[in-house]
């Protein structure tokens, strides 16, 4: 009798209920897969920010590309230009000298995206001397 009882206990052990465990584990898996968010790849656009009083007025300096940014868009040499046109103008300047200083002057009500777009164009053209002034 004792022997048969022992055998029954050992027989019961492999018949452990796996179904609920697998159910729970799959629920957890689905939760984590659904909550997993892909993240954007970020880039970094750097520029110098000279103090307003330390530098001379950049408009009067030679060999400087002046770009003005207002709430409507970009102004290059006193003329409003589109993003593509600005890129072409800067590209024609960048051909001669990559180390030319680019001064970006932003008005207070200009949206930040225009500044980022301008910096992105400068990075594309490998212009390195970038400075931001605020008006």
């Amino acid at each position: 009798m004792k022997k048969s009882r022992k055998r029954r206990i050992t027989d019961d052990q492999p018949e452990l209920e796996m179904t609920p465990m697998i159910d729970v584990v799959f629920q957890l898996l689905i939760f984590f897969i659904v909550t997993l968010k892909k993240e954007d790849i970020l880039s970094m656009l750097s520029a110098a920010r000279p103090a307003a009083d330390s530098a001379a007025d950049p408009r009067n300096q030679p060999n400087v590309i002046n770009i003005e940014i207002n709430n409507m868009g970009f102004v290059y040499r006193g003329t409003p230009v589109s993003k593509n046109l600005l890129e072409r103008r800067l590209a024609s300047m960048a051909v001669y000298d990559k180390k030319v200083s680019v001064v970006i002057r932003c008005t207070a009500d200009s949206p930040h995206k225009f500044l980022v777009q301008t910096l992105d164009i400068c990075y594309k053209l490998q212009l390195q001397n970038l400075a931001i002034f605020s008006m």
Partner: protein, 145 residues
């Protein structure tokens, strides 16, 4: 009857151990990689900047200053005014004994320049002249526009 029981028992003899191992490995992977709380202002939508260098692993002393669309300044989504930001920056400059630690400005693409200027002015007053703006190199989480 005896035969039926036999065939049923052989069906449940399928080895579950490797499957459970794999599933647990996957769960552990997701638990470890999951960030439950985001320590950044998720309302900020960045402009595209495909040509800048990719922000990879940043040095631990990197400071990311967030500027929301309405001009709210924050670090790790904790709002602050210019005076508090200045104290933090001067504290960092004194601690690292130089001003060369990276400062990233994470501003919304609709933020007015006057609000970004407030942050830039604080940085320059603390002696930090080189500023970086965060943009999106490649969309993975879905585009903004």
């Amino acid at each position: 009857m005896a035969r039926e029981r036999k065939s049923y028992s052989t069906g449940s003899d399928l080895n579950m151990t490797p499957m459970i191992d794999v599933v647990f490995q996957l769960i552990i992977f997701f638990v470890v990689t999951l960030k439950m709380t985001k320590d950044e202002n998720t309302d900020i939508e960045l402009e595209d900047g495909k040509h800048g260098p990719i922000v990879k692993e940043m040095p631990p002393q990197t400071l990311i200053i967030e500027v929301a669309r309405n001009g709210r300044i924050s670090i790790h989504n904790a709002a602050m005014n210019e005076r508090m930001l200045q104290e933090i920056l001067i504290g960092r400059v004194n601690r690292f004994r130089n001003t060369s630690f990276p400062v990233l400005i994470r501003a919304d693409y609709r933020t007015k320049h006057r609000d970004v200027k407030r942050v830039m002015d604080v940085c320059t007053s603390a002696g930090i002249w080189k500023l970086s703006f965060v943009a999106i190199q490649e969309h993975k989480a879905g585009g903004k526009k």
